[in-house]
Amino acid sequence: MQNDKTLAEVIAIIDKFSERHEAVAVASATTRIADLGVSSLNFIEMVVRFEETFNVSISDDEFQRITTVGEAVTAIQAAAQATAQ
């Protein structure tokens, strides 16, 4: 799974759950998802969307670690690796 492509797709999904589209437009891997206008209660639905889009199952440990956009990409890639093994 290519890093840049995954990052772009993750940001596109975040945008669907965000109330701050202008912030999402300039988001990078280090941006905190909470700063992008994703509410706490939309967060889990957003992660469910990650799982559906990338066809992965993110572990509880990886889920707990997601605070930035880059950490979401890492969680997805870790889940994809776990699936491939």
């Binding site: 509410s39 706490s40 209660l41 939309n42 639905e45 469910v48 799982e51 199952s57 572990s59 889920f63």
Partner: protein
């Protein structure tokens, strides 16, 4: 005779234990939950366990924070539940249990505090939704008579737990709605009660900041020296569904081994 129980928050903790208990009591189970893929093996186990008991089970995995999802499920239930066989007894939904733990646990003031949206959505999903679901069932003629409406509260509704403010407010709303609905649904022979569970070791407890302190304090002061289990509360749910509970309504009923009346 077919009897349905609708359990909101059916995949873990008290909701899951109640689903299994009510299935053992002879109810078919409608469950609503919201989980990631990691939980799916656990959901499959629950489904298999209910089917093993010889009961039907329909589970919906959806975000209850979105009202349109509730409308969709209620419409689907109207199409699913056969209410056209009066000789077969009242086959509508006889029990609705609100066991939703989908809220924000954050302080009310300062850094990291709950946002306006956090408070609004927590009070909606964990409080007002009891009314929305009951009203949705009544409007679609899906609530059986006699029937039972049950929800869950905690001691955190009346004493301070760190970061529990938004959920505490939602629990207060639930208790208020319990009293109001009890009177409004009395003509339909539907009782409405709220079970105040002692501190129970569930996934929902584990996400409350400082939960270790809550657990330690509860074990220390509970006269039985242990936490409440989901099965303890499921037994109380089962008792409240017994026909002999028909005169108990509008109440907040403790199920805690005496925990809340100790110092």
């Amino acid at each position: 005779m077919s009897r349905w129980a609708l359990i909101l928050g059916s995949s873990s903790g008290i909701g899951r234990a109640a689903a299994l208990k009510l299935a053992a009591d002879g109810y078919d189970i409608l469950g609503v939950h919201f989980d990631r893929r990691a939980a799916q093996p656990r959901i499959a186990e629950l489904r298999a366990a209910i089917e093993h008991l010889g009961r039907r089970v329909i589970l919906f995995n959806t975000n209850l924070a979105r009202p349109e999802n509730r409308h969709q499920i209620l419409d689907q239930l109207r199409d699913t539940i056969d209410t056209s066989s009066p000789h077969n007894g009242d086959s509508r939904i006889a029990v609705i249990l609100h066991s939703v733990a989908f809220g924000v646990t954050r302080p009310l003031i300062g850094e990291g505090s709950a946002s306006e949206d956090d408070l609004t959505v927590t009070c909606a999903v964990m409080g007002h939704d009891l009314v929305h679901w009951v009203r949705g069932l009544v409007e679609r003629d899906l609530l059986a008579s006699p029937g039972r409406v049950l929800s869950l509260t905690s001691e955190g509704d009346r004493r301070h737990w760190r970061a529990y403010g938004p959920v505490s407010a939602a629990k207060a709303i639930l208790e208020s709605h319990t009293r109001q609905l009890a009177i409004e649904l009395a003509p339909r022979a539907v009782t409405v009660n709220c079970i105040l569970a002692g501190v129970t070791d569930t996934p929902a407890l584990r996400v409350i900041p400082g939960n270790d302190d809550i657990v330690t304090a509860s074990i220390r002061r509970n006269p039985h020296g242990r936490l409440t289990t989901p099965e303890n509360v499921a037994d109380a749910v089962s008792l409240m569904c017994d026909p002999r509970s028909a005169w108990i309504t509008g109440s907040v009923i403790s199920c805690d081994g005496g925990e809340t009346i100790t110092a």
